[in-house]
């Protein structure tokens, strides 16, 4: 990729820059949410919220973002741990993915979240990465991550959507100028579990939103992945009993079975009577800037038998309106087949191209 007249990130201008530490910042390690928000409010746009750090450090090491103040949430006990609540679970936002995977109630009643969290990244990353960070992480579009001044970065062009762009991993649905995708593995699982995201707003209030409404696409806000406003902190994820112990399906397709982000992932939760689908929730990720709940597919299959023809009709509906870019048309059959499997199960379906 040639630099041209485009301003490159500073690190690219000179050779042999030792890039192993980050630019200087002031570090704050508050022990309460209130103290954290006081720092966030004081520094405004110059503040950076640090959870596990696996997304953050790339931004900082690459010198693409240079916050004045980093607020490390790891010292806030109120953000950690998994508690039973209202017949379900409340998972603190700073709970690591490994802790989620090992929790007996997650294993027993919300096993789709276990599968999704276990599929994220690598063991070391799951030992450090948090569920709050996993759902709040930024997109991995490498044009954007490399500091190119694209729409998402406040510019007026998308570098991933040109005739020469390398866009194999990008969006096929819901693109609006930006074609980046959401990389979260736990997000589609949380959507089908009807999880509630608990947010402490910058003014100290608390609001709760459905998981599917936590994520925003470029049509709503092209510079953000979530509804979090500056100064807001995601404090917990609540799992209601609604879908506990349902028939779950989870699958993530990626180039390498470890570390990689999803090319396409799918999650479903189903309640059956005999072989009839009474209720279903289904969501996909890796195909749009936000994880997508497939409400039209749900409406179509509810009340139908769980069989091949239902799965085929549903899968075709799922990709309706999809618009591939130059290198990602494969995502259409991939998503179609994953939706089929999510309805029919893995053994019973045949792959169709």
């Amino acid at each position: 990729m040639s630099g041209g007249a485009v301003a490159l990130p500073e690190g690219n201008k000179s050779m042999a820059v030792i890039r192993d530490v980050m630019p200087a910042f002031e570090l704050f390690q508050p022990t309460s949410i209130e103290d954290a928000q006081a720092v966030l409010n004081r520094y405004g746009a110059e503040a950076w919220v640090l959870a596990g750090g696996l997304d953050s450090f790339d931004w900082l090491k690459d010198r693409i973002r240079r916050p004045q103040a980093v607020v490390d949430l790891s010292g806030i006990a109120a953000l950690k741990g998994i508690r039973e609540r209202d017949g379900g679970l409340e998972i603190g936002a700073m709970t690591t993915l490994t802790e989620v995977v090992r929790h007996p109630v997650v294993r027993e009643r919300y096993s789709i979240l276990l599968e999704a969290a276990e599929a994220a990244a690598s063991p070391q990353i799951r030992n450090q990465g948090t569920i709050g960070g996993n759902v709040s992480q930024d997109t991995r579009c490498w044009y954007y991550r490399a500091g190119w001044p694209c729409y998402r970065a406040g510019g007026n062009i998308c570098y991933a959507d040109t005739p020469e762009s390398i866009n194999r991993e990008h969006a096929i649905l819901g693109a609006d100028r930006c074609v980046a995708v959401n990389p979260s593995d736990t997000a589609p699982a949380l959507i089908v579990l009807d999880a509630q995201m608990v947010i402490r707003t910058a003014d100290g209030g608390e609001r709760t939103v459905n998981a599917e409404d936590y994520f925003v696409g470029p049509g709503v806000n092209i510079t953000r992945m979530t509804i979090l406003e500056p100064g807001d902190i995601l404090t917990a994820v609540r799992l209601p009993p609604t879908w506990a112990g349902a028939r779950f399906y989870w699958e993530k397709v990626r180039d390498r079975q470890v570390w990689d982000f999803a090319l396409v992932s799918v999650a479903s939760a189903m309640r059956l009577t005999g072989s009839t689908i009474d209720r279903i929730r289904i969501a996909v990720n890796g195909v749009a800037a936000r994880p997508l709940r497939l409400a039209a597919v749900e409406a179509l299959v509810e009340g139908r038998p769980r069989n091949e023809s239902t799965a085929v009709v549903a899968a075709n509906l799922a990709i309706e309106g999809a618009q591939p870019l130059r290198f990602n048309a494969y995502k259409m059959p991939l998503m179609r087949n994953l939706v089929k499997r999510a309805i029919r199960g893995v053994e019973a379906t045949t792959w169709t191209s």
Binding site: V21, A24, G53, K61, D72, S74, S122, V258
Partner: protein, 200 residues
């Protein structure tokens, strides 16, 4: 006297030349060494527990644990490969749990137990069972990735002392070997698991 890179780095550190070497290592990042503290933020001087020892060290706010271990404490067994939480060469144990030390801020591990590859052997130079197994099986080629693999395996075996080969492969899947020596590495680490069961 032969001067290896390892001994050179250690010598520089032992010689009290930390400030000057840090200025070299951290060049291009501005005058970090002169930065001041703002009210309400953390102190730069902190106490770390590394390999059972208490170490007092001056750490930059933005410094990663891998840098502190290698260039402030001289523990060069912890390798820096990608510095991006991808390769696992920098894996250390924090409270018995494997972490990529390139992606941990040193200031976030105050009061926690850090164990590096140097901290595995018992007093008197008796190798840890996993280290002994690596020696016995000769599981590695260039072995740059070895400390990371061994630390990842030791950490994983604390949660599952009797893994199948597949389970151990999954447990150490966060580490890369550019020699593509995975099969032999896994054989060596499986033997390490066996040695550990014998010694406990």
């Amino acid at each position: 006297m032969s001067l290896s890179r390892r001994n050179f780095i250690k010598g520089v550190i032992a010689g009290g030349a930390v400030a000057s070497s840090a200025a070299y290592l951290f060049r291009g990042t501005g005058s970090l060494l002169g930065q001041s503290s703002a009210p309400g933020s953390v102190d730069r001087l902190l106490t770390l527990t590394v390999n059972g020892q208490t170490r007092r060290v001056d750490v930059l706010k933005q410094e990663t644990l891998a840098m502190t271990l290698r260039y402030k404490l001289g523990l060069t067994g912890t390798k820096l490969g990608c510095d991006r939480a991808e390769c696992g060469a920098c894996t250390v144990l924090i409270d018995d749990v494997p972490h990529y030390s390139c992606s941990v801020l040193t200031h976030t591990v105050r009061g926690r137990r850090i164990v590096t590859i140097e901290g595995l052997e018992a007093p008197g130079g008796v190798l840890h069972p996993v280290q002994q197994a690596v020696v016995d099986e000769q599981g590695f080629q260039c072995a740059f990735c070895l400390p990371g693999f061994v630390m990842a395996a030791v950490g994983y075996l604390k949660t599952n002392p009797t893994p199948t080969r597949d389970e151990l492969a999954h447990g150490i899947s966060g580490n890369l070997c550019r020699c593509q020596d995975y099969d032999k590495i896994l054989t060596a680490l499986m033997r390490g698991a066996e040695y550990m069961r014998r010694t406990t």
